[in-house]
């Protein structure tokens, strides 16, 4: 039988759902992979997707809570249409979009809290590369103005990474994450904020 993408994804998800019950403990070591929808804000709105891989080591294990040290990588893409400015251009029109991509290393810590260590929240920092590719067109027929627009820039991006989630099963979590770039960099490149919402799957390297 030829495996297609949907079949492969189904097998992965099925294996992760091998136990629907949640265990009140965290593995001592595991890898997490996540897929997210992205929202970015730089004065205008951008939408896209992201994916990450994180290696986690359990560093504390208390009666009620556990915590990990996390190191990972996140890649993201957001598209920011220029047409968002058209409402203030009074008859003129901007077309095209800015395409923002990021490749960021992350380190931080996650705490798993009651009940049953189902809730997870974490904070950390990120550092890496952010790049904007802007391609568009503008026209104002009133004054016979028009032209193509093109700009590119990449910068080192660093900042604060915070996430919050719920473990649906031992291996699957629904996670909301925010990346806030600091210090100031050209906002079209890094945006003021990137918010992500998605699903993560844990692959246990060492059993509980």
């Amino acid at each position: 039988m030829k495996l297609n993408l949907i079949t492969a994804m189904s097998l992965v998800i099925a294996s992760a759902f091998s136990s629907l019950a949640i265990t009140d403990s965290i593995p001592s070591k595991y890898i997490t992979a996540g897929l997210y929808g992205c929202y970015g804000f730089s004065g205008y709105q951008a939408y896209g997707a992201g994916a990450d891989v994180t290696n986690a080591w359990r560093i504390w294990n208390h009666k009620l809570t556990s915590g990990t040290f996390d190191a990972g990588f996140i890649a993201g893409y957001q598209r920011e249409p220029f047409s968002q400015a058209n409402s203030i251009l009074n008859g003129a029109e901007a077309l095209g979009a800015g395409h923002r991509i990021e490749g960021l290393l992350t380190i931080g810590s996650t705490a798993y809290i009651p009940p049953s260590r189902r809730i997870l929240c974490g904070v950390g920092v990120f550092g890496g590369w952010a790049h904007i590719i802007m391609r568009g067109y503008f026209s104002n027929s009133r004054y016979n103005i028009s032209g193509d627009y093109k700009a590119d820039k990449g910068v080192w991006a660093s900042g604060i990474d915070a996430h919050f989630g719920v473990r649906a099963t031992d291996r699957i979590s629904i996670v909301a994450r925010s990346l806030v770039p600091l210090p100031y960099a050209p906002v079209p490149v890094t945006s003021y904020l990137i918010a992500l919402l998605g699903v993560t799957i844990d692959f246990h390297k060492q059993h509980i």
Binding site: A85, N90, I107, V125, F138, R142
Partner: protein
């Protein structure tokens, strides 16, 4: 390894602890460096004395906070009048444009790149909403039914305030030079006003140099072009300096308006006008400091300050 959740335990193999320690130290170094760059301003510290006046305008019917930066060694009885830069957006939140210009002027004076120069900041004694005063004063009258939040279209009155009330007030209190050694600096809507003020030049113009950084030429669908057209039929030939800048990350509307406006300016060849335009690989806020810094250099290199 202790996997039992019956006590608070930090258990980890030694090599893992070493790896995490190295990662954590690297992260601290990287982000400490980033934090330092966040704290450090992108312009030199202003020197000299700063005085504040409150000036009421009968033309605009409003009050203004006027900040006057005097150079080190300022002499109120000087027989050599001082060049002066009028700066807009003095107290617009964190933008701090008065200190940007005053800082660059201070640094260049110290390096003997420019003569001692007075900087006059035009600010507002209130901070209501999204910059009520600047939206009213820096925008040209609407002709294309633009919808705005707050009063707009006060550029003509604000220009008359500068010409007939502010400059006479400054001349009365400080030994400032004539129009050929006066400049007006503005960014964003302030850049739009600086561009408008340039188009008002005639034989009585009180200011001879303009720096328009990231000017909002898109306002009201490009109505600023009508003022450029009216300038072309006024046949003015007095010397005037105009320096315009833009960030190439500011999007298609800002950039295409800018490119077109500059090319029409150059193509027209207004008698007496010396013009230069520059683009920076940055965003809207990123053009503030380099525009004012490079604008100062360009103006003084093209005759604003005279010989040192």
């Amino acid at each position: 390894m202790n996997n039992k959740a019956n006590s608070l335990s930090f258990s980890m193999p030694g090599k893992h602890r070493a790896v995490m320690t190295v990662i954590a130290v690297l992260a601290i170094i990287v982000f400490a460096g980033g934090g330092c760059s966040m704290v450090a301003p992108d312009h030199p510290q202003a020197t000299g004395e700063i005085r504040k006046h409150v000036l009421h305008s009968n033309i605009v019917n409003d009050n203004y906070d006027i900040y006057v930066r005097l150079p080190v060694g300022y002499d109120s009885a000087s027989t050599t009048p001082y060049p002066v830069i009028f700066q807009l957006d003095v107290n617009l939140g964190i933008l701090d444009e008065f200190n940007v210009t005053a800082g660059h002027v201070s640094s260049m004076e110290k390096n003997l790149e420019i003569p001692s120069t007075i900087v006059v900041g035009i600010g507002y004694p209130y901070n209501e909403g999204p910059g009520k005063g600047r939206l009213r004063d820096y925008t040209i009258p609407i002709e294309n039914d633009s919808v705005t939040i707050g009063a707009t279209g006060g550029s003509p009155a604000f220009y008359q305030f500068i010409k007939s009330e502010l400059i006479p007030f400054i001349k009365e209190h400080y030994p400032i030079a004539d129009r050929n050694k006066r400049a007006l600096f503005g960014h964003s809507l302030g850049g739009l006003f600086a561009t408008y003020a340039f188009t008002q030049r005639d034989s009585t113009s009180p200011i001879g140099g303009f720096v328009a950084a990231s000017p909002s030429l898109w306002f009201d669908g490009g109505t600023i072009y009508k003022y450029l057209d009216s300038l072309s039929i006024r046949h003015v030939s007095d010397t005037c300096l105009l320096y315009m800048t833009m960030g190439d990350l500011e999007g298609p509307s800002m950039n295409i308006y800018f490119d077109d406006f500059c090319s029409k300016l150059k193509a027209h060849g207004f008698p007496g006008v010396r013009f230069s335009s520059v683009k920076y690989n940055t965003d809207h806020l990123g053009t503030i400091s380099p525009s004012f810094r490079d604008g100062i250099i360009w103006l003084f290199n093209h005759g604003m300050g005279g010989a040192l």
